[in-house]
């Protein structure tokens, strides 16, 4: 039972970690509704996905699951990039309005629909695994001997609880210091997701690998360790990256930060010219 609890707990925590960090990085705009909608959508998707896993596997001559996974990772990365750029544009809008209007602007978080999709995808990925795992336990353990299933359910609850505490914890730390550049944090997650996506496509030969193992940093941070697994799910860390993964990681990071930087700069220029005319 304990083993089952740990396995499910880890899956839930992996998705939860990403959600907590994104939610914390977006603090300042009200996104509670978006986060909840995302989780609900993700759970629903996870149930569907669990039902059709073997179908997806059989599709596209055995590459179905890889293409599907790479696809949703890429969508998540795109949405994060969009959210990032939207947030810097929002900052500009905020500065242009009067103080009374800012509150209203923050309350209507309509522009951050991208967050719904990112969170739904995070839940979808790990959720379908948990659903399948628990379902097979339910089938194989029967009703008389279901301490395994109980362990699974406890693991889910514990994971959700730790995720929430983690979020509260991150939020309580003086945000100014850690999340002063939430842009950077969201970009890092987007870069990690994209490098995972191209990694999957390169593994099945749809993209060139550009070197299968450019370096091996297992001695520093092994993928087998706890920290390595967490680093993998947050920034896409792998001890033996492909050349293509490194390139993609850097490129995505550069494109997002340059775009947001440029938006901020043009805002500053606008403001300066505005001040000059007054």
């Amino acid at each position: 039972m304990l083993a089952v609890l740990l396995i499910v707990f880890r899956e839930v925590l992996e998705a939860g970690l990403v959600i907590s960090i994104i939610a914390a990085a977006c603090k300042g705009i009200t996104i509670r509704l978006q986060v909840c909608t995302g989780i609900a959508l993700g759970l629903f998707g996870a149930l569907l996905l669990a039902k059709f896993t073997s179908l997806i596997e059989a599709a596209l001559s055995g590459y179905g699951q890889e293409i599907f996974n790479a696809g949703i990772l890429a969508i998540a990365a795109l949405m994060l990039a969009w959210q990032n750029i939207w947030m810097s544009a929002k900052g500009r809008e905020m500065a242009e309005r009067s103080k009374e209007n800012i509150k209203g602007l923050l309350l209507d978080g309509k522009g951050s629909f991208a967050i719904v999709i990112v969170i739904a995808i995070a839940v979808l990925r790990e959720g379908s695994e948990v659903v399948l795992f628990l379902y097979s336990l339910f089938l194989s353990s029967g009703l008389t001997e279901n301490s395994m299933l109980l362990g699974g359910l406890l693991g889910t609850a514990l994971g959700a609880f730790v995720t929430y505490s983690l979020y509260r914890g991150i939020v309580m730390i003086p945000l100014r210091y850690i999340f002063s550049s939430s842009n950077l944090i969201l970009s890092l997650i987007a870069a990690g997701l994209s490098s995972q996506a191209v990694g999957i496509l390169a593994n099945i030969g749809f993209l060139p690998q550009l070197g299968s193992q450019v370096w091996n940093s297992s001695f520093l941070l092994s993928n087998n360790s706890w920290a390595g697994v967490l680093a993998h799910s947050v920034i896409g860390y792998t001890a033996t990256p492909m050349g293509l993964q490194i390139l993609t990681w850097c490129a995505v990071l550069c494109v997002i930060s340059l775009t947001t930087q440029r938006l901020k700069q043009s805002h500053k220029q606008n403001k300066d010219t505005l001040d000059a005319t007054h």
Binding site: G199, N203, G205, F206, Q213, N223, T240
Partner: protein
Amino acid sequence: MFVRCLLLFSIFSLASLPAYAERLALQLQLNNKGFTPKAFSLPPNKAIKIELINNTNKVAELESYDMKFEKIVVPKGKITVFTGPLKAGQYRFFNDYATNVVGIVHVKRP
């Protein structure tokens, strides 16, 4: 500029596809006692595909950090994972949904 890069990139990736067309296929089974075979050898610098049949009545996840795959296999189901080309050395794969169900791949020149 961007379009040109993209074009070059896609031509490059198309050109490299045939290299992966021939993959070394390996059959693997998961039973209640673990993987059979538990260990096998492979030549270096070859694209590889591993087929796994799950003979147990539980969901399993075939995963490897150093070979970069992770795939769920339902009871009595069959999956294929792809990896390589690998450098010489030892690689580890496992069932992520169980404790201590592990297999080893030795990559060395025959």
